[in-house]
Amino acid sequence: MGLSKLNGLYREVILDHANHPHNKGKLPTATNAMTLHNPTCGDTINLQVDVADGKIRDIAYTGEGCTISQASASMMTEAVKGKTVDQALSMAKTFSDMAIGKQHSDADLQQLGDAQILTSIMEFPARIKCATLSWWALQRALLKQGNEEED
């Protein structure tokens, strides 16, 4: 088999997001923020969200980690920008569910944009945490007010 199966995980679009991340940086106007660490590997994401009138007006992140975690953060921020908080939370739930193998409707998946590609992560159970880290950060940032840090 060799590395051929890797093509499924590291699709071109994923590598592109990892190499040219979208929305990477800091957001001076952030209303909500959350820093999450994956203590087993040391990956970090610092997510900043600018929420106004129940909508995600802008979103950005900084962090360090593997290709999957960085690509996932890039895709996630792209997918939720301009969405309402409720929509974004529902997308985060869809992504987390997909990553652990739960089924969702095609319409739910379409919502995820590029990020739906990363649901192939379920074939690599050891890497699920890498892909979900940014979505968990999003959920926590939106559900809790202010700036917080959690492990």
């Binding site: 088999m1 060799g2 590395l3 051929s4 199966k5 890797l6 093509n7 995980l9 590291y10 071109e12 590598l15 087993t40 590997c41 040391g42 990956d43 970090t44 360090e64 980690g65 593997c66 290709t67 999957i68 690599f124 050891a126 890497r127 890498c130």
Partner: protein
């Protein structure tokens, strides 16, 4: 004897399988090693013929189980050359042993203003118990640094260890840098300041001859599962006079002398530290593992691993895109090799190697202060045991080259 080491691979059927349609190359031995058939057979025999609780019963099975359990203690005593089997305490593992020392000896002997000295290369198991003890007691936790080649800086050790130092705790071999630390010298240094030396032997005991008497360590902890025993068993060695003066670790059955309504007395060592029903089969399995290691000979095991490192390390260092951490000289390196492929996260590397059948670890290896010292967040780590072969090493090198090609040459 080299021959019998080669034949030993046949005792590990788990190694003879395919993973992701490739020949399995198990190089995560620093995390846990595989068990040979004689150890597994001993466990089966114990549970099928002799299983009973120890030290309590007067019936035949209880006697057999007690004999097996206590024989394992004597085997471990001889294996590490302790003065007496009373100095061998069975624990859950290395972490448990280190916590035991921190919670008993540390609790009793460390006070506000005292110092505890460890090294920057410590595994979290030999770091957090001391850090928490220092916080609780108002003591200072100090770190011995590294030389530029990633070895323990003994000049710094001489600066850090002072008359205020009560405990020095250092790994015998690093689980990241692949270096062996001079415990004997550290013991002398600690003793000259009135401190005790605690050795973390997790990465040493399975791989080289260890003589706690010659090292003159005061405490020495290691895990069974890294030396082919069942999981959940380990050993704490302690000098008898120190152990006798220490309070118990946990209270309950089996560790008591007399129990009265308002007060109790404790059993003698080692039972004072073995409250409750122990991992008896684990200890019996550990005894079998000691027999197995003795038969192969620890010098032969050490040589076999050195031969593998001599073979693979120069090949890794020759790859321009690979960085190896720790000493670059194979003769200063154990079978633990931490490395990175430039520009690639070690998690991505580990997933790619797994697709080629090669099992390595990726992450901070429970040594975050060391990662910080090295300016890294994580590394990949290949760790060899005596049953690994040059063919395994070749497959690792080939997989690394393919990984580089996949991410940087594009097979899309």
């Amino acid at each position: 004897m080299a021959n019998s080491i080669n034949k030993a691979r046949a005792d590990f059927p788990i190694l003879d399988q395919r993973v992701n349609d490739e020949r399995l190359v198990y190089l995560d031995n620093a995390a846990t090693v595989q068990r040979p058939t004689p150890v597994l057979q001993k466990l089966m025999d114990f549970y099928q013929h002799d299983n009973a609780n120890v030290h309590r019963g007067v019936h035949t099975l209880a006697e057999r189980a007690t004999k097996d359990y206590e024989q394992a203690r004597v085997k471990v005593q001889h294996f590490i050359n302790a003065q007496s089997s009373d100095e061998i305490i069975f624990t859950k593992g290395c972490t448990d042993g280190l916590n035991l020392v921190a919670s008993t000896y540390g609790e009793q002997n460390v006070h506000a203003g005292d110092e505890i000295v460890i090294s920057i290369m410590e595994h979290h198991s030999n770091l957090i118990p001391w850090q928490q003890l220092a916080i609780k007691k108002g003591a200072t936790l100090k770190y011995i640094g590294l030389t530029p080649d990633g070895e323990l800086d003994m000049n710094d050790a001489k600066r850090q260890i002072t008359d205020k130092t009560k405990i020095v705790a250092v790994a015998h071999a690093s689980n990241v840098l692949g270096v062996v630390n001079p415990l004997r010298e550290l013991a002398e240094l600690a003793h000259s300041h009135g401190a005790v030396l605690v050795g973390d032997g997790a990465q040493a005991v399975p791989h080289m001859p260890v003589d706690v008497s010659a090292l003159d360590v005061d405490f020495y902890a290691f895990s069974g599962h890294k030396m082919m025993s069942p999981m959940g068993i380990g050993v704490l060695y302690g000098k008898a006079d120190l152990l006798r003066a220490m309070p118990p670790y946990q209270y309950g059955g089996e560790m008591i002398g007399d129990v009265h309504r308002q007060e109790s007395t404790w059993a003698d060592i080692p039972f004072k530290f073995e409250a409750g029903t122990q991992n008896i089969a684990g200890a019996v399995g550990l005894g079998a593992a000691v027999d197995y290691l003795d038969e192969l000979g620890m010098e032969n095991i050490q040589q076999a691993e050195q031969d593998l490192v001599d073979y693979v390390l120069p090949q890794l260092e020759e790859l321009p895109y690979v960085t190896v951490y720790g000493p670059q000289d194979p003769s200063h390196h154990t079978g633990v090799i931490a490395f990175n492929l430039n520009g690639l996260h070690p998690h991505d590397v580990a997933t790619a190697l797994d697709m080629d059948g090669v099992a390595v670890r990726a992450g901070h290896h429970c040594a975050q202060p060391l990662m910080e010292e090295l300016g890294l967040t994580a590394t990949a780590r290949a760790s060899f045991y005596f049953y690994n072969t040059k063919q395994d090493a070749d497959q690792l090198i080939k997989a690394i080259k393919e990984t580089k090609e996949f991410f940087n040459g594009g097979t899309f």
